[in-house]
Amino acid sequence: MTRKKRWYDYLWIWPILYFALGFFNILFAWLGMIDFLLPLFIAIIGGNKFFCNRLCGRGQLFAVLPRALKCSRQKPAPAWLSSRRFRYAFLLFFLTMFGNIVHQTCLVYGGAKSLSEVVKLFWTFRVPWDWAYTAGATSDWIAEFSFGFYSLMLTSTLIGLIVMALYRPRTWCSFCPMGCMTQLICEIKSRGEQPD
């Protein structure tokens, strides 16, 4: 029995489109906020992980790529990678990095820092990305956030691709900060309940 394909089964196109758009115009990076806010919204309102389970384009991409390119070793990942301790630590680290992006954006907004037209990979390597933004096209703080957020999205996708290749396709999902955060929300919402 094969499940009938639905529109959301093709959302693996979304991350490809997102990175392609951001490559040419960094302001498209703001669209990534959908991936940040929608899972939280669904978890808080609906009390479920419908986003992770059905709508996450990145998760789908990690599942689709190895099928098409045979680029995953399909080995189980080390258990610590999906342990609660590591997941919460990674979530905390990720939120700190996001907080730093917001902080940098505030500095640019306040005029204390100038716009840096670079994408920072793995929070370390500064890659010039100046072709993707024309100075003065919009407020500098809007562009600053774009560069920061695009860096975060690109870095997390690269980590996901590395663990996809080394272990099972969707290994990223086992420590994804959004998945961890939404699962925590769902646990709080349904505390004390048990399945039928």
């Binding site: 009390g47 389970n53 599942a63 999902c173 086992s174 769902c186 646990e187 399945p195």
Partner: protein, 68 residues
């Protein structure tokens, strides 16, 4: 066709990503309230696709009672 095995999820380790639900050919798995996956043993045919795909490696195939 049902085999003598069925899948069981370690709820403490499940990350509720839903990868198993997408792979299951019988639709025997669902994510319960975003917390963990649960398997309907009556629908499960013990094919092991969910076990192979689980990124947290938290699914085991168990022998059904009287299935030895």
């Amino acid at each position: 066709m049902a085999s003598k095995f069925f899948a069981e999820v370690n709820r403490k380790r499940c990350v509720s990503c839903g990868a198993c639900t997408r792979e299951c050919p019988r639709g025997a798995i669902r994510v319960w309230k975003g917390r963990y996956s649960i398997v309907d043993p009556l629908l499960c045919i013990g094919c092991g696709k969910c076990k192979q795909t689980c990124p947290a490696d938290c699914i085991e195939l168990k022998l059904r009672e009287g299935g030895a």
